[in-house]
Amino acid sequence: MSTARKLVFVGGGIALLAGLNQVFEYGFGGFQINPYYARMINLIGINITLAVSLNLINGLAGQFSIGHAGFMAVGGYTATYVTVYHGQQIASLVGQSPMDPGGSSLVMPISLAAGALAAAMAGLAVGIPSLRLRGDYLAIVTLGFSEIIRVIILNIPAVGGATGFTAALPITNFFWIFAMATLTIVIVRNIATSTFGRALATIRGDEIAAEAMGVNSTFYKVLAFVISAALAGVAGGLSGQLFANPLSPQNLNFVRSIEVIVMIVLGGIGSITGAVLGASVLTVLPEALRGLDQQFPGIRMVIYALLLILLMIFRPQGLLGRREIGWAWLRRPSRTKIPADIE
């Protein structure tokens, strides 16, 4: 793609999202979107960012992180903190308050960048020591890390401690959520199709062989981990500043990490479109199960757990496997069976 075409795509995308954002907030003619559906769509967008970013480390690099909620917490709390305590100063640069449209479109990217940076640093701090270890140890370390983060947050009164960061300003909107989701998809997709992605694929296949081929596996693993953490931090920043959706140590626990894992496992580990699909399904599914969950508290997680076990037994690669849904998939000719020995 030429630079000019790229610019057209980016500009067009921003215009489209901004237009949709207007429709979301103010309606279009007589049409007003149902706030319940609007909220669901926003949550889907945040979960897409989370799932696709986790897919970078779990799917593409073949490492296993079960502490994504920890990075989400670091980024989310940092972003929210920036807005709450410095938003006024930042917005005054354009002579507005953080809640005004002009002010928020300056505060939001700055707070998200701060969140991403903080989460990336946390990713670096966890990644360097633990990515030298074997897969299952990494899983435990990421889990331990996210628990430590949770305990630390519980002990910081400035961010609300156990009650959650309720002082957050609701400046997240449709535009930022889907701009970030798109950005995440583009970043992860470009990584997957680049030299970096091929290095990750060799590491996933066989780390020792990758090293023997001259791939610096620790470097690539840590880099993937840091990027994944930064994107999770962005998702946290979006989530924590969504209206009436404050971050709290309770909703950033182990279970939250597992939810994201179920999303990518359901969609297909390593498939970006699969992660998008999984994130969408698993945002809507709990709503559909809400009635049942009120009758039998916990049944939602039971269904998740069964889904996870059955998928692992019968289809460990997930619904899509590594396939992507795209133009190539839509246009592919009727499949001719390839003999097993050629494949």
């Binding site: 299952d136 140890y137 890390f145 630390i152 496992v265 049944i299 039971v302 757990a305 076990i309 692992m312």
Partner: protein, 299 residues
């Protein structure tokens, strides 16, 4: 000095619980190289099994030591069965898939037991019947309850028993062979499926014993009680050197002592983070653990 010994005793009894659970993690990991996430939840099921058996025998009204022993053995038997069923239904079908697949399955089983427990037993905590009357012994100003003493004694006895099984019996030899190389063990005529099932049964029974012991000392039991305790016990197993039985014991006691000491300082709110901080440190400094020997990965 008295407070020091008091904390030492408290830490030892907490650590003994972690150690009992860590033994199960270590055995399963030793044989299958699988982190059995559901192990902490088997411990929870042990406490609940004990609760139902004890209530069935109405031990609350007439506490007795033989009754308590019966309840413990009953819970152990129930959990041994559960362990075998979990292995057969969830882990065996994925044994030949990648380790990641097994790990995700283990997480799934763990969630299933926790939230299934919530659906079946209800989310509100239950109160475990007092099967043994609580007594406090004072030795030179240091107080110890009979329950803590029992926990420590049981943990030590179990550890020696396990060492005996693993190193002195035929099934122990088969376990070690399976741990060394599953395929070759099979070629030598060892029924590895049986050995693995036995390992799960043994580990689960120990977790159940831990569950009942804890419920005696801290009678509040709920379906999510295994989550944190299980994770910390796993950390204990890694700290001691995973796959190593005395290591699991040492790791458990160390984690228990550290938690108790932190709990007594002004940093007590950070208590739950200690185990994980220790984990990250040990993996940085000595990934094989205290008692473990490092294994170089072969091509």
């Amino acid at each position: 000095m008295e407070t020091f010994f008091q904390q030492l005793i408290n830490g030892l009894s907490l650590g003994a619980i972690y150690a009992l659970i860590a033994l199960g993690y270590t055995m399963v990991y030793g044989v299958l190289r699988l982190i059995n996430f559901a192990h902490g939840d088997v411990y929870m099921l042990g406490a609940f099994a004990g609760y139902y058996i004890a209530n069935f025998l109405s031990l609350d009204a007439n506490p007795s030591i033989p009754g308590a022993i019966f309840v413990t053995l009953g819970a152990m038997a129930v959990c041994a069965g559960i362990g075998i069923v979990i292995e057969r239904l969830a882990y065996r079908p994925v044994r030949h898939h990648s380790r990641l697949t097994s790990l995700i399955t283990a997480i799934g089983v763990s969630l299933l037991l926790e939230y299934g427990g919530q659906v079946v037993f209800g989310a509100t905590p239950r109160f475990f019947p007092q099967m043994i009357r609580s007594e406090v012994y004072a030795i030179g100003g240091v107080q110890i309850t009979n329950q803590s003493l029992l926990i420590i004694v049981v943990a030590v006895v179990v550890m020696f028993g396990l060492e005996f099984i693993v190193h002195r019996t035929k099934i122990g030899k088969a376990m070690r062979a399976t741990s060394y190389n599953l395929t070759v063990a099979k070629l030598m005529g060892i029924n590895t499926d049986f050995v693995i099932a036995f390992t799960f049964a043994l580990g689960s029974a120990l977790a159940a014993a831990g569950g009942v012991m804890v419920a005696l000392a801290i009678p509040r039991i709920d379906p999510l009680m295994g989550l944190m305790t299980g994770l910390k016990a796993f950390v204990a197993a890694v700290l001691g050197g995973i796959g190593n039985i005395p290591g699991a014991m040492i790791g458990g006691v160390l984690i228990g002592l550290m938690e108790t000491w932190i709990g007594a300082t002004s940093y007590s709110t950070y208590r739950d983070a200690v185990a994980f901080a220790v984990l990250i440190l040990i993996l940085l400094l000595r990934p094989a653990g205290i008692m473990g020997s490092s294994v170089t990965e072969k091509v």
